[in-house]
């Protein structure tokens, strides 16, 4: 009998790099990534009155609270502080929600992985996709608040996809690494929530660099989110073109985090079905 050349052949002994194989598989299953994103967006808003508007209202609400608390209690008075906070907060929300979702989806999808083959990175990749849609939507309240606080919107706002891309790569790298550990240990997700809270205050969201004592600044600069959030703030809030260093440092951080996370995750992925 003749074999059709289009027929897929699966050979478990084929020696290929796990990271590259996973990349090929996720491209082949791109429809599944889109379906997962669709499912996440649809199910989140299905039974709510305001629907998709929550994506814009949630960061606005948090921003209002933080702005009122910090500008009154800590006497921060700078022009456009509300826009400054909202800018950082949107970038932060994207990062924390995406990494958390990547972890939760893989752990919950564990029963699926035990029944059917799907590329294991699909959970992290679709979490980043969902996050990017939400992030794009929250640019609308950001632009409005920026205008209300009296800051001009310049053409540099069009550069915002660059920091968004870097944030997405960084979040995917962290999400992959974290979920590869969380699938074995139930408490990793809980621990991560605590880490996130601490990380939030170590990132330039509510405070500005000038307010920090000089000896603290050194430590803050060890935080990768410092560079990513600062870059995110440049095109809209500061309304200027970033310098080469301001792009290159977060760019390198994003690429390294993604590559390391992807390779680590792919090297562990075949074991998941053995343990879940």
């Amino acid at each position: 009998m003749k074999i059709l050349s289009t027929e897929p052949i699966y050979d478990s002994s084929r020696k290929r790099s796990a990271a590259i194989e996973e990349l090929q598989e996720i491209l082949r299953y791109r429809n599944l990534v889109l379906q997962f994103i669709r499912r996440d967006i649809l199910t989140r808003y299905k039974r709510s009155v305001l629907g998709i508007a929550w994506t814009m209202l949630t960061p606005l609400g948090t921003m209002l609270i933080l702005t009122i608390v910090f500008s009154n209690a800590f006497k921060i008075s700078m022009p456009g502080y509300a826009a400054y906070v909202l800018n950082g907060l949107i970038a932060w929300t994207f990062f924390s929600q995406t990494t958390h979702a990547a972890t939760v989806h893989l752990v919950w999808g564990g029963s699926l992985l035990n029944r059917i083959y799907v590329p294991r990175t699909v959970f992290a990749v679709s979490a980043v996709g969902t996050g990017l849609i939400n992030l794009t939507l929250s640019l609308i309240p950001l632009l409005i608040v920026t205008l209300i606080t009296g800051l001009p919107i310049r053409w540099t706002a069009l550069l915002i996809p660059i920091p968004m891309l870097f944030l997405a790569m960084f979040a995917m790298g962290i999400g992959l690494t974290l979920s590869a550990i969380a699938i074995y240990f139930a408490d990793v997700t809980e621990m991560y929530q605590i880490i996130l809270t601490a990380w939030l205050y170590l990132s330039p969201i509510i405070w500005t660099e000038e307010q920090l004592p000089p000896n603290v600044t050194i430590f803050v600069k060890l935080n990768p989110m410092y560079y990513l959030i600062n870059l995110f703030r440049i095109p809209i809030y500061e309304g200027r073109v970033p310098t080469l260093a301001e792009v290159a440092i977060p760019g390198v951080i994003a690429v390294i985090t993604l590559v390391v996370g992807w390779i680590y995750f792919a090297s562990r992925a075949d074991e998941f079905a053995y343990r879940v």
Partner: protein, 251 residues
């Protein structure tokens, strides 16, 4: 690169295949506990071979049955074919598209409509959006769910759930079809309809793998039968030869 030593009309080949699970002596569920025990050097794993030394060759168009006691490794073997598990040792080669029927409807979402779930489930099975657009009408037709297709799945009965799952998984002719004791759901008419569809696939040359505890079903359908016993392939022969021996053994 070594040339595949697989004959062309062989759909599935297993060479000295083993699947080893690492079973911890105590269940360590938290990272904290893991680190503590690791520092104390108290982590010990016991090896459990769910399958060992399996050599199998299944040909195109075969209807192949797997029998054995609970926990013998039958489902593990099917997971190897479905690519869910990678063997710990040995080699598994599968030619063609595998349609898994392991627990129909896995991956459906309660809050989504039947229509949305058809597209989601199709994507889980690896179909593109374009392929799903083309399949959609046929799937709903077969499941007989036109009246409910835009209602959320949480309003579906178990039977409707199973019908939709079966219809999505079996819409197009697969090269390998895996049937793992799933035929117990749905009403009599649908059971008959799905049975006919499986027979149609068989007549069109699909390889069918069946795991069942019903010797009657296995004898009726399968050309050859493998008896799996504690992770080993105990014997492999025509159904009419193995089943009497099997029944004798467990009497």
């Amino acid at each position: 690169m070594s040339l595949p030593t697989v004959f062309e009309d062989e759909t599935i080949s297993m060479e000295n295949v083993g699947v080893r699970y690492r079973v911890a002596n105590q269940r360590i569920a938290t990272f904290k506990e893991y680190m503590i025990r690791r520092i104390q050097g108290k982590i010990q794993n016991r090896d459990f071979w769910a399958l060992r030394g399996i050599n199998l060759s299944i040909h195109r168009g075969d209807t192949f049955g797997f029998i054995g006691h609970n926990g013998a490794g039958k489902s593990t073997l099917l997971k190897l074919v479905a690519r869910v598990l990678k063997p710990t040792e040995g080699r598994v080669v599968v030619r063609g598209r595998v349609a898994p029927l392991l627990e129909i409807g896995a991956g459906f979402h309660n809050e989504l409509t039947g229509r949305e779930n058809v597209f989601l489930n199709g994507a889980l099975l690896g179909f593109s959006r374009h392929e799903m657009d083309e399949k959609f009408d046929r799937i709903v037709e077969f499941a007989e769910l036109w009246d409910f297709i835009d209602a959320p799945m949480r309003t579906y009965s178990t039977g409707m759930w199973a019908r939709l799952g079966f219809a999505v998984a079996t819409d197009s002719q697969p090269d390998v079809l895996i049937v793992d004791e799933v035929m117990a759901v749905g009403d009599q008419a649908f059971l008959h309809k799905s049975y006919n569809r499986i027979m149609e696939f068989r007549d069109n040359g699909a390889t069918i793998l069946i795991v069942s505890h019903s010797m009657q079903l296995v004898e009726q359908l399968c050309h050859r039968v493998a008896w799996i016993d504690h992770g080993n392939l105990r014997c492999l022969d025509e159904a009419s030869k193995i089943i009497p021996e099997y029944l004798e053994h467990y009497k």
